[in-house]
């Protein structure tokens, strides 16, 4: 029963990680870029949300309604001002640029909000739980998982059935050929990053409701997103979602074995997948 409980908690935790991983999978798929400040953006958005909620007494839903458009705008600006200048076959410039941005953001947040941990007041929702099959399950983690599933499903539909989705898939497959059909790669990139960071707006609200956030927490979120994407299999959005579940389960089970072992168990599962199935658990082998 204890292990079944760990499994359930792991899946719920995976719902949180999926919200980080989707954007990373999307950006890597289309631009071959990893934004090292990915996790720092979650923290920045969280802290902005917490400050707004405290100052104006906003409910989490209102914070979400403000944060997501703000995140979309931040993603669009990030692409226009930084990433469009460093996208290309050489991974070095984009890594260095976003690495520098990450250091700057972390320390800027440290100055504005200090090193303290904060969380978003949830007005009771964070402590509610319901009993399912003898296990107590938190209402908030269930909402997080539902939102993550909805986001993954929605993103998958957008990629499959919309003009933007087709243009994005075309640019991922062969960016030069895409431009030969009239696609402006930079416009597609800007939209892709806007969507990727926009999803982090959801992640920010839920992260700061579920637990606490502090300016130095970003890198850990980046690493979890990365592990989820690699475990699941690169490219596909459902791969990132399922990879997040596996990572969440690994951490939850590891935590039951020994509280100091939780995060490490996730890392070890990642290394194990990399050693035995480098294309990811749900990815297709490339030739």
């Amino acid at each position: 029963m204890q292990w079944f409980d760990a499994l359930v908690q792991g899946i719920l935790l995976g719902g949180m990680y999926a919200q980080y991983a989707l954007g990373m999978a999307l950006m890597f798929g289309v631009m071959r870029i990893v934004n090292i400040s990915h996790g720092d953006l979650v923290i920045l958005l969280s802290l902005i949300g917490i400050s707004m909620a405290t100052a104006w007494g906003l409910a989490p839903v209102s914070v979400l309604i403000i944060l997501v458009p703000l995140a979309v705008l931040m993603g669009w600006l990030l692409q226009k001002l930084v990433l469009n200048r460093v996208v290309g076959s050489d991974p070095l410039p984009s890594l260095i640029a976003t690495f520098g941005l990450s250091i700057a953001l972390q320390n800027l947040m440290l100055q504005i909000w200090s090193a303290n941990s904060r969380s978003l007041p949830g007005h009771g929702i964070e402590s509610q739980s319901i009993e399912i099959a003898g296990i107590y399950v938190g209402v908030l983690p269930l909402i997080v998982l539902a939102v993550a599933t909805g986001l993954t499903w929605g993103l998958d539909l957008v990629l499959k059935h919309t003009r933007f989705g087709r243009a994005l898939r075309a640019a991922s497959a062969d960016v030069e050929a895409a431009s030969m059909t009239g696609i402006n790669p930079r416009a597609v990139y800007a939209l892709a990053t806007a969507v990727a960071v926009g999803i982090l707006g959801f992640a920010a609200v839920f992260q700061s409701l579920r637990s606490t956030v502090a300016p130095a927490d970003g890198p850990a979120q980046l690493i979890y997103a990365f592990e989820a994407v690699i475990i699941g299999g690169m490219g596909a959005v459902w791969g990132a979602f399922l990879g997040s579940m596996v990572l969440g389960i690994a951490q939850a089970i590891g935590f039951r074995i020994d509280p100091g072992f939780g995060v490490l168990a996730g890392h070890l599962v990642f290394l194990f997948v990399l050693a035995t199935r480098p294309q990811g658990l749900f990815g297709k082998a490339t030739t």
């Binding site: 071959r32 090292i36 700057a104 990399l274």
Partner: protein
């Protein structure tokens, strides 16, 4: 020594010139610098020795990152894994098993070397930027493992109490000699490597890995060797740094700060050149002394500078200098000259 004559055939007697006057001056200064570092106990205070030791560690770690990112195209943000691994190995050998600490410094290098082999085989499966995050995960794994491992005193860390058996002067002599050796190994070793027959292959690989592979450069093997060599170089810096600190904890041993330091130094100084590393290390060392007290603001500026260099000046300061003046300190080019035609 620096010029080889090809005059056996009836071709004009062309010489391959590999040294320049700027290079000779720089080489003399560099050797004088290494001697000065080795002789620190006779001219510097203990405080100065500590500062210069840190500068030497910056140079060594940055040059190892430069070899990885600037030549092998492997952008690592997790070299602190090897610094911490060697540091811990030193502490365990010297403190727990009573091996002479100055011998243990060298023995501890086996640990990063042995770890780097399987790690590279794992990480090289990751595509481009994912490789970088992978190296970071490895450093995190090392940190978490050390935090849970009783033999290294878990999260509480270890102290190198055996150093009390040596006088302050003896310790200063040892640290100074180790620093000189570290510079010789990392900077001198890189220079030797770049001037050797591997040098041309490395430079070809830096400029265009695909073309280099088509010209017979074994890119995969060269990358592997550079990764292992860089692990050993970082390990040496780690062992010396933590020996001077006398204390090691999982947090300090695997501190991502070292990745910041290496990236800032190399990118601002100038990637793909030894000169750039020396310039960048000096700038960072001075900036750290002057502005380090500003804490977060200082790091915001460092981060933004790294960002701006990546966006607008990818060759860094040395790139801007060498565009204007052709006077390399560490020439690695081969230049054909005809002695009959001045």
């Amino acid at each position: 020594m620096s010029a080889v004559t090809y005059a056996a055939t009836d071709l004009p007697g062309v010489q391959v010139q590999r040294q320049t006057s700027s290079g000779r001056i720089a080489m003399t200064l560099a050797l004088a610098g290494i001697v000065a570092v080795a002789a620190m106990p006779w001219w510097a205070s203990t405080g100065t020795i500590r500062s210069i030791l840190i500068l030497c560690c910056y140079i060594a770690v940055a040059q190892m990152w430069n070899l990885l990112a600037g030549y092998a195209g492997l952008v690592s943000v997790g070299q602190q894994a090897f610094m911490g691994a060697a540091g811990y190995a030193l502490f365990v050998m010297a403190q727990t098993f009573g091996i002479n600490p100055f011998l243990a410094v060298f023995l501890s290098l086996l640990v990063p070397a042995v770890l780097a082999v399987p790690l590279y085989l794992l990480l090289h499966r990751l595509d481009g930027p994912y490789f970088s995050i992978g190296t970071w995960v490895v450093a995190e794994v090392f940190r978490l493992v050390c935090s849970n491992l009783p033999i290294v005193n878990a999260g509480a860390g270890m102290s190198l109490r055996v150093m009390k058996d040596y006088s302050a002067f003896e310790r200063n002599v040892a640290m100074s000699l180790l620093c000189a050796f570290m510079l010789l190994l990392t900077v001198g070793g890189s220079y030797w490597l770049l001037r050797s027959r591997y040098g041309l292959a490395l430079i070809a690989m830096r400029d265009n890995p695909v073309a280099a592979a088509s010209q017979g450069v074994n890119v995969a093997k060269l990358r592997f060797l550079i990764y292992v060599a860089s692990a050993v170089g970082c390990g040496l810096a780690g062992a010396i740094y933590f020996m001077a600190q006398l204390r090691i904890t999982p947090g300090s041993a695997f501190d991502p700060m070292w990745a910041n330091v290496a990236i800032f130094i190399v990118m601002v100084g100038g990637i793909g050149s030894i000169e750039g590393v020396l310039i960048g290390a000096l700038i960072f060392f001075i900036a750290d002394r002057w502005f380090g007290a500003y804490g977060a603001t200082y790091f915001v500026v460092l981060g933004l500078m790294t960002l701006l260099v990546a966006l607008y000046a990818r060759t860094g300061i040395w790139g801007l200098i060498s565009k204007r003046w052709d006077a390399p300190w560490f020439p690695i080019r081969r230049k054909l000259v005809d002695p009959n035609r001045p």
